[in-house]
Symmetry: C2
C-alpha cells in the first residue's frame, strides 16, 4: 500500500522506513533524498487510512520522523498531489476525508480566533520579528530581511490605497496592530482597527501608547460585522481566511456601508487557484474555521454590491519567503518554545505547520491575493499603476 | 409614465419633448441639460414598453433625437440605473426584456463575428487610426494620442508577458493583426495568430507582407477551439467578449494544452462588476452573441485547470478615453460613412454605440480587465511588478 501511495505521487525520491521491522519501501530506481521513519504499526495503519490528519499528528508526537529536508519533503508530496493523474486517483479518497471548516458565527469566530491568536504574545514575539506582522511580507528584492519586507508590505498596501493624512481608515482584523500603527504613524491618518483577539488587542494598545499614537489609532474589540463607521479607506490584511465563504456577501455589505463614494479598499488574503478546503490537518490543529478562497470565490464579497475590482496582485512567492524566515527563527528558538509550553509535540506541530506553509506557497497549493477595489462610480482613480512603483 | 421613468432614474436633468403635441416632460426643479425629442406616438409607446431596444432603434431611424451632449445624456441615464433604488424597481422590468445572447458554437461564432467585423476594412480604417487596433488602448498619460495609446497598450501587454525573441506566441482573436505584428516586429518572437473574420485576416496578411514579417507571423483562419500548438505565450485581446460563458472552461483547456510549463498568458476583455447581460440593444444591433463577464465569471476559464492568476488590472477609464477618440474621428468622417453605406440610420446606430460605450465605461457599467496568468507550479515569475513599469 505504501508502494501504491508512492506510485500515485509519481514515485518521488522518498523512502519509508518501518522501525519495527527495519523494512524500507522506496520507488525503484530513485535515490531517496528524504526518509520517513514510521515508529510502529498503529502509526502506519493510521497513515494509510487518513493520511492527511494522521501524518501531521504522528509527526507532532514523533511517531513519524523525517530525515532530510522537511520543507523539501512536503514540497515533493504536494507536487505529487498536483499531478493530473494523482488528482484523479486521489481525489475520490480525499473527498471522503474532507470536512467542513468550523462555523464562523459571531461566537464561533471568537472561539476559532482565540484558539490560534491567543496562544500568547510572548510565543509569537519569539519568531515573528519586531513588527509582529503575522501575514505575508513584501520583498522588494530577494536580499530584504523579514523586518524590511514587513514594513515594505505595509507601505505597498498604503501606496495602493493612496492613504492621505485626512483619511479615516477602518481596519478589519488588525493582529498586533502593526499596519494600523504604520498608517497612523507614517501617513498621519486616523485608524479604527477591529479585532476579536483580546491578547492581540492588549499588545496593540500598549504599542499605541508607547508610540504616542493613541489620538490617531483606536483598537476596537469587536467583530468586523459590527463595523458601522464611515471611512475613506477599508483595509483587511489576513482576516478573510477566517471569515468563511458563507459570510462573504455580509463582509461586502459592511464594506459598502462604510466606504465613502471615493473610498478605496484592499483585502489581502491567502487563496487558491481553484476552490478547495484548507488542508484538514491545518484546519483541525492550527487554524480552526479557516478557508482560503479562490479568486472567483472572493468575488462573492464584491459582486453582490457592484464593488469595482481595480487591481489584483498574487504574492505567493513572497509568502513562501516569509514563512521561510519565520521557520528559521522558530527553529532557532525552539528550546524557548519548549520551555514555554513544556510540550515537545506543540513544538513539532508548529514546525510542521510552518514548513508545510513554505511548501504550499512554493508549489502553488496556496496563493496570496491582494485585491484593491472601489465603488462602481468612483472615477477618482489613477490612470496607471505607476504610482505604486515610482519613488 | 415618462414622469415615473424619470423619477425611477432619480429625476436627472433630462427633458422629453413630444413633437406631435409640443408637450415637455421634465423633473420639477431641475434645469434640463439634455432634451429627448420623440417624433410620434408609436415611438413613445415603444419606448415605454421596451426601452432598451426601442430607444436605440428609434435613435437610429431619427425618431428620437437628443439635443445636447449625447454621451452626457447616456451617462446620466446609466448613473440613474446604477442607483440602488433604481436597481430594485427597474430590475424586475429589465429582467423581462433580457434575452440570452446568440450561441457561440463553431458556426454560430462565425456568423456573429462576420456580422460585426466583416463590415469592411475601409469602414474601420476611417476612424480606428493607423494601428487598426479595435480594443481598449493604454494611456500612459492623459495627453497621449490614440495611436500612442494603442502602441502603449501593445507594449504594456508585451511587458506583462515578458515576451522574448525566443518565445512562440499564440494569439486568439487577432483583429487586423496589430498586436501580432508588434510582437514579431518589436520583440522578434514567432506568432501564430487566430481569427475567424476573413476580412480582417486579409488585411493582416497584407500588412505582414508589407512589413516583411511573414517569416515570423502566421495568420490562421481558424477558431480558438482548434488551437493545437505549443507556446510560451498565450495572448487574447478583445476576443473573450465573443466566447460566451458556456465556453470558458473549454477556452481554459485550450490554453492549458498550449502553454508550456513556464508559459505566461494574458486575457484582455470587457467585463462587469457583477454578472449581467450586455445591453440588449448592443447585443442585437452591434455585437451579436457578445457577453461581458464579471471577474468571478472569468475565473471559470482558469479555475477548472488550476491556472494561477498573477495579476489583474482594470483599465475601465482607458476604454472610455479610447471610445472618445474613436467617436471624435467617427463624427469627423460621418459624411464618408454615409457615402459608403448610403444609410443614415447606420451612421446613427454606430454613433449611438460609440457614445454609449464611452458612457458605459465612464459610469462603471462596463469594466476592462487584463488578467495575467501562468500554470500552477511555475515559479519563474518576477518577485514584484516593477518590471512592468521600469524603463
Amino acid at each position: 500500500m505504501l508502494r501504491r501511495l508512492l506510485s500515485s505521487l509519481g514515485d518521488p525520491p522518498i523512502e519509508f522506513q518501518l522501525e519495527w521491522s527495519g523494512e524500507r519501501i522506496a520507488p525503484v530506481a530513485v535515490a531517496a533524498t528524504e526518509r520517513v521513519r514510521v515508529a510502529d504499526r498503529a502509526t502506519l495503519r493510521g497513515l494509510l487510512t487518513d493520511t492527511q490528519i494522521r501524518f501531521g499528528d504522528a509527526y507532532s508526537t514523533g511517531q513519524i520522523e523525517i530525515e532530510g529536508d522537511l520543507v523539501r519533503f512536503i514540497e515533493t508530496v504536494f507536487q505529487g498531489l498536483n499531478r493530473p493523474s494523482a488528482r484523479e486517483t486521489i481525489a475520490a479518497r480525499v473527498a471522503g476525508w474532507l470536512h467542513r471548516p468550523r462555523r464562523n458565527s459571531l461566537s464561533g469566530s471568537r472561539d476559532n480566533i482565540h484558539r490560534h491568536y491567543d496562544l500568547g504574545n510572548d510565543f509569537y514575539s519569539l519568531w515573528l520579528g519586531e513588527t509582529m506582522a503575522y501575514t505575508c511580507a513584501y520583498y522588494p528584492n530577494s536580499a530584504a530581511t523579514l523586518e524590511q519586507a514587513q514594513v515594505a508590505k505595509m507601505e505597498h498596501v498604503c501606496r495602493k490605497l493612496r492613504i492621505a493624512a485626512s483619511d479615516r481608515v477602518v481596519e478589519a482584523g488588525c493582529g498586533w496592530g502593526s499596519l494600523a500603527l504604520h498608517i497612523a504613524g507614517r501617513h498621519g491618518a486616523k485608524v479604527r482597527a477591529f479585532n476579536i483577539s483580546r491578547e492581540q488587542l492588549g499588545f496593540a494598545r500598549h504599542r499605541a501608547r508607547a508610540l504616542g499614537l493613541t489620538h490617531r489609532v483606536e483598537f476596537v474589540e469587536d467583530d468586523y460585522r459590527n463595523i458601522q463607521e464611515s471611512a475613506e479607506v477599508f483595509v483587511s490584511v489576513g482576516m478573510l481566511e477566517h471569515v468563511g465563504l458563507d459570510h462573504y456577501p455580509e463582509l461586502g455589505r459592511v464594506i459598502c456601508r462604510s466606504l465613502s463614494n471615493e473610498g478605496r479598499g484592499l483585502i489581502h488574503s491567502i487563496g487558491r487557484n481553484r476552490p478547495g478546503l484548507l488542508h484538514p490537518w491545518i484546519e483541525r490543529r492550527i487554524f480552526p474555521g479557516a478557508y482560503p478562497p479562490s479568486l472567483g470565490e472572493m468575488m462573492q464579497i464584491f459582486e453582490p454590491w457592484g464593488l469595482s475590482v481595480l487591481d489584483v496582485e498574487n504574492l505567493r512567492l513572497h509568502y513562501a519567503r516569509t514563512c521561510r524566515h519565520w521557520l528559521e527563527r522558530y527553529d532557532a528558538v525552539s528550546d524557548k518554545v519548549l520551555a514555554m509550553f513544556s510540550d515537545e509535540s506543540f513544538v513539532r506541530t508548529w514546525r510542521l505547520y510552518l514548513a508545510g506553509s513554505i511548501a504550499a506557497f512554493n508549489t502553488g497549493s496556496l496563493q496570496l491575493f491582494q485585491v484593491l477595489f472601489t465603488k462602481q462610480d468612483n472615477n477618482e482613480i489613477p490612470l496607471t499603476r505607476e504610482y505604486m512603483y515610482s519613488n
